[in-house]
Structures are given as structure tokens and as C-alpha cells.
Symmetry: C2
Subunit: 181 residues, 2 copies
DNA sequence: ACCTGAACACCGTTCAAGT
DNA sequence: ACCTGAACACCGTTCAAGT
């Protein structure tokens, strides 16, 4: 048996478990997803999961980390696009994961680890949005408040699906300072 | 035994159960609050709760309804204040209940009933905010988008506590169209 | 009508035992 | 090192039995 076969397998199986959890969390929701269901979807026993992950919350964090890494990876392909385009693309991606977004918010106050993840995520997206605003020519002293408002708007759109035109109207109001014409 | 004693008692005890649940939901969170804990706090047996309420979710809805009624009741005292003042006052009240806010969002997609409550709540707050914007002189065609953005900002502030000055900066940017000076 | 103790189903997690 | 079946603790909920 080759020396490096085990680690390979370990990563593969771990990835399968995380992938199964990601799908179920997005479809059924975190709270309603059973560890047994994750195990079934991943083709292992329930107890096996605990060999790869400390508990259900750690599984959630693994899913979040994987998701974030995937999004950031795909984003590299879009470096040449405008910051606004990049942001809109992120919104689309997160919209598919709105259940996970609300779950993170719900657990952020209760769980130290999820709270830390949430803070880290916002540091990243805040910085990205601020950068975009500066590139668009927003004066420096307005950047912080606009960044906040922008993030709030994005989260709001994630959690309250709106018809495309209304969604667009909100984002236009946000960026240009006046609603549609 | 007087004819009307029972109904009185029933309402009292029901109110005690809902009050106990409201406190625990706000402090510990909905998911982490045990029906046994609610019962203990209300001075009844766990099973007794099920005489007054169908299940845990119905208990949540009772808490939400009571909270909303209380807030709207108190708001009557402030009719002479400006819409902005009224809104700020509501934000403060909801800020004490941010756990409940995230819980509603988390369950809104899963539960029909919570989803309906959430929609009703937004209809109400959206209408209030729109009214306030009109009174402040916002042109009619900008009202819808600004209302949306305003609600998103408020929810954002509820879920991401900010230092007072930054909170103020966001609200000012929202209402005046430019950040602090 | 209202309340209860005992019991049930379900779920996250642990553990002793296997390979 | 990795995996499992059996068992445990906990929780929402039900039910037969009481007043």
C-alpha cells in the first residue's frame, strides 16, 4: 500500500461529507438537516462523520470555509471586470445560499466560532466594497458609511427576494443616489 | 364559582407562558430555549404548555404577536413625534429583540406561518417608512426604492451592532444622501 | 376544562469494539 | 488510522389518567 494513499482518501472522504452537508444545508436548512441525513448522502455511517469533524457546528464551519474558498477562487477569473460586476456576481452566488446566510446570522450571537467566521467574512466583503466605491470616485469620507449601507442592502436583497427591476432600483439608488427614472 | 373566572385565569396563565417564552427567546434564543425551561419559568408542567399552544412554533408566533401589539400600542403615545423619531424608537425596541429578528428570518423560508408573519410585519413597517419619506418630501417615484433600502438598513443595524456615530452616519447617508461631514 | 406523569420518537454525540 | 453498532442524554410531543 503506497505511503500517500491514506491522506488522499481522507481528503476525498472529508470533501464528500462536506459536499453532502453543503447541499443539504442549502436545500433543507442547517437546523433541519440531520447528521444521519448527511451521513446517508455521503455514503458513510453517522458516527464516521465524527472522525472527520468535531460536531455539527464544525461541519457548518467546514461548509462555510469551502464555500468561501470556492467563491474567492472563481472570483479570480473576474479580476478584469469592474468592482460593481464582481459584487453583483457575489450577490448572485450568495443568493443561492440565503439559507446559510440567515443561519450564520442566527448562530453568530450564540456561537463564538460562527461569530468569528461572520466577522471575518464581513471584513473581507467590506474591504472589497470600499475598494469598489473608491475606484468609482466616492470621496474618502463617505466611503465607510456607504460601505455599511451597501453591505446592509446586499444582505437585505439576499434575505428578501425582490423582482429584478425592484432589486435594480435599490442598487441604483444606492450607487447613484437617486432611484429609477 | 363565578361564570367568568375560568376565562380570566386562562388568559392570565396563557399570558404568563408567552411572557416566559418571550424572555427566554430574547436571552437564550429560540432554538436553544427548551419547552421545559419555558414551563419552569412559567410555573407549569411542560405538557401544560400544549394545552395553550399547539407546538413550539405556535409559541413563537404568540410571542411575536404579543411583541408587535405592545410596540404598536406604545407607538400610539408617539403619534405627535416625527416619523423619523418614531422609526428610530422602533429600531431601538427591535434592537433589544435582534435574536428574535434573526430567528424569524431563519424560519421564514421553512415555516409557512412564520413566513406569513414576516410578510405581514414588512407590509406594516414598509408602509410606515414610506409614509415618513413622503412627509419629509421625497418625490413619489423614489419612495419605493428608498423604502426598501431603508428597511434593509434598519435590519442591518439590528443584526450588526455599530458604534452610535457610525450608526448615525449610515442613517444620515440614507436620509440626506451624503455621509457625515 | 384543565393539568399531569409516564412514555415515545427523534437527534446529536459517545464509546467500546472491530479492522 | 479509520470505521461501526449499540447506547446515552436530551428534547419536542403525545396520551392515558386524573380533578
Amino acid at each position: 500500500m503506497p505511503r500517500n494513499r491514506r491522506p488522499q482518501d481522507r481528503e476525498t472522504k472529508s470533501a464528500e461529507i462536506v459536499a453532502a452537508a453543503a447541499t443539504l444545508f442549502a436545500d433543507v436548512g442547517y437546523e433541519k438537516t440531520t447528521m444521519a441525513a448527511v451521513a446517508r448522502a455521503a455514503g458513510v455511517t453517522t458516527t464516521t462523520i465524527y472522525w472527520y469533524v468535531e460536531d455539527k457546528e464544525a461541519l457548518l464551519l467546514a461548509v462555510l470555509d469551502h464555500l468561501l474558498a470556492t467563491i474567492l477562487g472563481d472570483l479570480e477569473q473576474l479580476v478584469d471586470r469592474s468592482p460593481t460586476d464582481q459584487l453583483l456576481w457575489i450577490v448572485e452566488r450568495l443568493q443561492e445560499q440565503s439559507r446559510l446566510v440567515t443561519t450564520v446570522h442566527a448562530l453568530a450571537t450564540t456561537s463564538e466560532a460562527v461569530g468569528a467566521w461572520h466577522d471575518g467574512f464581513h471584513e473581507l466583503t467590506d474591504a472589497m466594497l470600499a475598494e469598489g466605491l473608491r475606484e468609482v470616485g466616492v470621496p474618502e469620507e463617505r466611503v465607510p458609511a456607504m460601505t455599511r449601507l451597501g453591505v446592509f442592502a446586499i444582505e437585505g436583497l439576499l434575505m428578501h427576494p425582490l423582482p429584478p427591476q425592484e432589486q435594480r432600483a435599490v442598487l441604483e439608488l444606492l450607487t447613484t443616489g437617486h432611484g429609477h427614472g
